[in-house]
Each structure stands twice: as structure tokens, then as C-alpha cells.
Assembly symmetry: C2
């Protein structure tokens, strides 16, 4: 597939924290990004805002962005609730007028908006709604437990902790170690980056687990590992249903807990984050009613930590939990993949003698 | 509201077990039902099949049903996955032709089916899809915790254990005890019976908890109790996400565990049902991360038990769990309402001194 030339819309919100999709695309596909559109940080470059990656220009208007020759306009901010702010409608129309493919992860489907659809129809430009999901998903019934590949789910201490990033890093580490590995995206950002998946939080509630099951069944053949991107947290007041459906639908063999150590309270609800040992107990219990899935390691989200600090946190977390901990972005996820192999094996077919 | 005259479609599947909607409507609104359509049991009466209620005729064809003068045609069977069997399409068309309002709880919206919609348009007959839900639901954020009414959620040891029935019985018992009480339906059958609610399992996954929150906020004003109909079970491979979202969105003050004592394994997955004390621990933990909600009693589903057997099971379950147990259909749910009052109070405003 030819590389895209992506202009990312992050209007008014370009930061590591607020523009998750933009940040992740710049981390994993920087060569595809020609500019970020954000009038607040315009004039600077993305490396100054994010603290990593190449110096991609930030522009203040769509016109400046178009001058950099993009072929894709990505809505790079996912507002809570997922709907399109009216202020962005004009930009989407202009991008379509300019012949760009508009890619959106919003809950409101741009392709079903009469005005935008009419512009797309007239100009021949495409609208790709990442959240569109199949309408023929099954009710899950533990079919994912039967695949031969080892399935690993990332779970978190909160929403927005870096489960997608950890899943991508796990996949890359497994590949570096010589294994066949598939990243199974369950959110719009992961899906934009590539891989067979679907946006699970968009599915009708009865089919959440069925969606996860479908993703695992599609990714498992011919690979050693399937790393399933987790969502939310098991006690998130808004999203816990998605989290649990994903866990029971994907039927993982092992779980990796993702945690930003400097976050002491949850993002949207100001609840104190429980000790990690309690989190591990909770996720192992919830999985274990249907199938054992040990939490074999902790992926540290150290976006705000130095290398030294990340190592200190890793040592502290290992002492606290008894499982390996590492910041996979800084140091690679190899120790976590090793932990999976040690505890549950590379493939279940080969793992008969492994410790479960 | 004038009473309806309902013909219930339960073709090929009329039994307590297989026709949940039909069974519950006959239990709680028998005066509205003119006939059941099922060619397998045709010629008999519903009391012979169900073991309760008045002798409502069972007919074998739509024509015979229409002869009894219905104004409403209810799809009374909810197939796994919720879709309309092709064989029933003809009957729905004929019912619309005959001027009946068609009410459906299927996932496939009959009102959006071009052929059926055209018939409705031409004849002026109405199609009411119970599963249609609002598109502007919020992401939940614990707003339901702040209502003044005492919120009680029914939870179960499996799907299809009688959570709706228990919730209706709790509401009726509270009313008999002189309290204002609202039944908050979350499934299509409850919604058909009445009450402010919506079909939670039809909601987009991100908004499950938000749907539950909305239902509680709508029902709470001016009432002492809101009895929220639960769904699924916390470890059901297909539906656990809905269960947990409902729990975290409705923010109950207390939970009632519903269990059919003779069921030893789960319906669809052949897992052994855990001891009730473990179930109580699980639901209290899952709620307690966000807000304490003790399981204050067990509602026994004794559809297959004699009164004596139901009393024996109640004694056994009380000894095992330490909380009151009763078959609410046979004996009324008063002991369970009393348990709620003793543990958490009638209204939170008044419950400051109550044991939590």
C-alpha cells in the first residue's frame, strides 16, 4: 500500500493528553504526517509539543495545511462522546472540496451527514468513518478460547493510559524476537495505523464480546501471538462494560496491565487509583471465571518520565506486584513478551507443559 | 391509556423457557392478551403450557388470531441475536394489512425494513420497535449516585433467570407496603409492560452505562424506590459487558440476586453456576469500587418448584448466604423490600443513619 500524506486536525487540542489519535499516529507513522492543524500551537513543530518524533510543522489554518500537499485529512481528536463539533464541519467540507480523503473516528458518521455526503458525492472525495462496524456480529460464546495463537490482552488502571501503544510495542517486540505477531486494534487510532480489527466501543452492546471474539478469530490463523488492544478499565464508570465485554470475548491467555505511574487519580472521576496488586487480582478474577488469564507483566506509560525515573518505577512496581515491569516505548516490550512465553507459551499447542 | 388487545406471536416456541416476552406479558398483563399464535401448541390454552394465569386461547394461524379482534401484534419471542426469522415476515405483513400495530423487540428494526415500512405506510398501521434507543445518550459519570430515591438493581447468576420478573415483583411489593416505587425497564419485555426505560443491550457500547444513568435519573424524582431491571450476568461470555455497564451506570444502593435454584449449569455455556456466596461477593466487589451496594437478598425463581420446595430452597439459601431469600412470584417480594429498607433505607435523604 502506498504511503498516505496525512494532515491531522487537532484544532485547539494538540497535546499528548488531549489528542490521543494525533499523538499515536505521529509516534507510529511519522513519515505519513505532513502537518498538524491546530491554531493554538501553530507556528511550532510537533516534537516541541509532544517531546518525541521528528519536527512536523503545526499550521493554523486548513489552507496552510493544504499547501503541504496532503491526500488524507484525519480527525485526530476524539472528543468525549465522540461527536463532531460544529466548528470543524467547515474544515471537513473544505478538505473534501480540495479532494482529500477524510478519515474520522467520531461516533457521528460523517459519511451519513447529508451535507458532507453531498460534497463527497460531487467532488468524488472519500469519507472513511473508522467507527463503522459490521452489522452481522455474533453474540460471543467463548470461541476465541480455541484458537492456537497465544492471545494477550492489554488492560488498564484507567482509560487513556496507553493500552494501544503497549499493544503495538508488544507486537513489535515479539517480531524482533523472531515470532509472528498480529496487532488487533479495537479503537479508531489503532485501526487507522493498520491491522485487522474494529472499533469495539461503537458496537451494539449485545455484541461487544462478539466483536472481540471476531477480531481474535480473524487474527489468529498463522500467527504465534495476537495482541489485542484493550479499552477503558473494569471500574470506569462510563466504559467498564466495554472493558469486560472485550475481556470475555477475546478470551486471552495472558494480560498485560498498563499504568502511568504518576497518575494517582483517575482522569475523569477523581477516584484514587487502587494499588496495582489489587488491579491484577481484579482482572485475573474477572477473566478466571471463564478461563485463566494471568496478568504476567506491567507496561509502564512513562510519557512524562526520564529513562532513570522509568527504571525506578519499574523496580518499584516489580517489587510490589511480583511481575516484570517496563516502559515499552523507552526500552522495548521484550521483557513482557518473555513473561508471556514463560507463563503461557508461544502457542497454546506448544504450551502444554507451560506454567498456567 | 386504554388497554390494548394483544395477539402474541410465539410461533413454534411457546413455553416458559423459550418465549420470555410472551410469558411475562401473560403474567403481568393477562387481561390484555386475546390469543397466542403458535402452531405447535395450537388448540390448547396458555395456562396449560405455562402453569399459571387465565386460559387464553392458543391459535395456529394468524387468521384465527385476527378473529379474536386484536389491535396489537406482539413479537413475543426474542431469538438469540434478536433478528427476525424470514418465516415470520409474511405474518407481520398480514397483521399490518389487517390494521394492527406491530410491536417488536427484535434487533432488526421492522420499521426500517423497506417492504414492511411500505405496507405500514400504505395501510396506516404502526410499527413500534421497542429496541429503538435515543441517539443522544451521555457517557455515564456517576450522576445516578446523587438521586434521592433508593435505587435497587436486580443481578443474576445467569441470563434468563427472572430479573425482570423480580424487579416487577419488588415494585409491586413496595407499593403494597405504602411506598412510591418505579419499575425501570431495561429490556423489551419490561418496556412493553410499561415504565420509563430503554433497551440497554441495543445501545452503542460506549453508552451502556449512560443509558442506565439516564433511566435512573428519569425515574427517581418523586419516588421512594427505583427498581432497575438487570441484564445478563457478570461472567456471561456474551453479555457481561451489558451487565457491568448497567451496574456502574445505575449506581444502585442495593442489589437483589436472582437465581433459579434448580439450574446448576448456565444455559448457553455449560459452566457450573458458582455458589451464591461467591456471586454476592463478586457483585458487591464490582459495585463497591465505585459505590457500596450490598446484595441484601435473593429472589428465587421457582417457576418449576412447588410452594413447599420454594420454601425449602429459601431456607437453604438464607443459611448459605446470610441474607433473606424468597420466591417473589409465589409469596411476594416484601421480605426483600424490607431487607433493602433495613440495610440502606427508604430514601437516601432519610437513610443517613441506616447501616450501609
Amino acid at each position: 500500500m502506498a504511503e498516505r500524506r496525512v494532515l491531522i486536525l487537532a484544532e485547539g487540542r494538540f497535546s499528548v493528553f488531549d489528542a490521543k489519535t494525533a499523538t499515536c499516529v505521529i509516534r507510529y507513522a511519522p513519515q505519513e504526517v505532513v502537518a498538524v492543524l491546530d491554531s493554538k500551537t501553530a507556528g511550532g513543530t510537533t516534537d516541541r509539543v509532544l517531546g518525541f518524533g521528528p519536527p512536523i510543522p503545526i499550521v493554523g489554518t486548513l489552507e496552510e495545511g493544504l499547501a503541504r500537499g496532503p491526500d488524507t485529512f484525519l480527525i485526530g481528536v476524539a472528543p468525549r462522546g465522540g461527536r463532531l463539533p460544529e466548528a470543524w464541519r467547515r474544515m471537513v467540507k473544505d478538505a473534501l472540496e480540495a479532494g482529500l480523503t477524510v478519515v474520522s473516528g467520531l461516533h457521528t458518521f460523517l459519511s451519513e451527514d447529508p451535507e458532507l455526503a453531498a460534497v463527497a458525492e460531487r467532488t468524488g472525495s472519500r469519507i472513511h468513518d473508522l467507527r463503522k462496524v459490521p452489522t452481522d456480529l455474533p453474540v460471543a460464546s467463548r470461541r476465541a478460547a480455541e484458537v492456537d495463537a497465544t492471545v494477550v490482552l492489554t488492560v488498564g488502571t484507567d482509560c487513556n493510559v496507553g493500552k494501544m501503544t503497549a499493544s503495538v510495542e508488544l507486537t513489535k517486540a515479539a517480531e524482533r524476537m523472531g515470532h509472528a505477531a498480529a496487532f488487533a486494534p479495537t479503537g479508531q487510532t489503532g485501526l487507522f495505523l493498520g491491522g485487522r480489527g474494529l472499533v469495539v466501543d461503537r458496537v451494539i452492546a449485545d455484541f461487544i464480546a462478539g466483536a472481540a471474539e471476531t477480531i481474535v478469530l480473524e487474527n489468529a490463523p498463522g500467527t504465534d501471538f495476537v495482541f489485542v488492544e484493550g479499552q477503558g478499565s473494569a471500574i470506569h464508570p462510563g466504559y467498564s462494560g466495554v472493558t469486560l465485554g472485550l475481556l470475555h470475548g477475546s478470551m486471552p491467555d495472558a494480560q498485560i496491565l498498563v499504568h502511568p505511574p504518576t497518575r494517582e487519580r483517575t482522569l475523569n472521576d477523581e477516584v484514587e487509583i487502587m494499588p496495582l496488586a489489587d488491579w491484577i487480582d481484579l482482572y485475573e478474577r474477572l477473566a478466571g471465571y471463564l478461563k485463566p488469564a494471568p496478568v504476567v507483566g506491567v507496561a509502564i506509560n512513562g510519557w512524562d518520565l526520564s529513562e532513570g525515573e522509568a527504571r525506578e518505577w519499574a523496580a518499584r512496581i516489580e517489587a510490589e506486584t511480583g511481575v516484570p515491569a517496563v516502559d515499552p516505548v523507552k526500552f522495548g516490550a521484550e521483557p513482557l513478551v518473555e513473561a508471556v512465553i514463560e507463563r503461557v507459551g508461544v502457542r497454546k499447542g506448544k504450551a502444554a507443559g507451560a506454567r498456567r
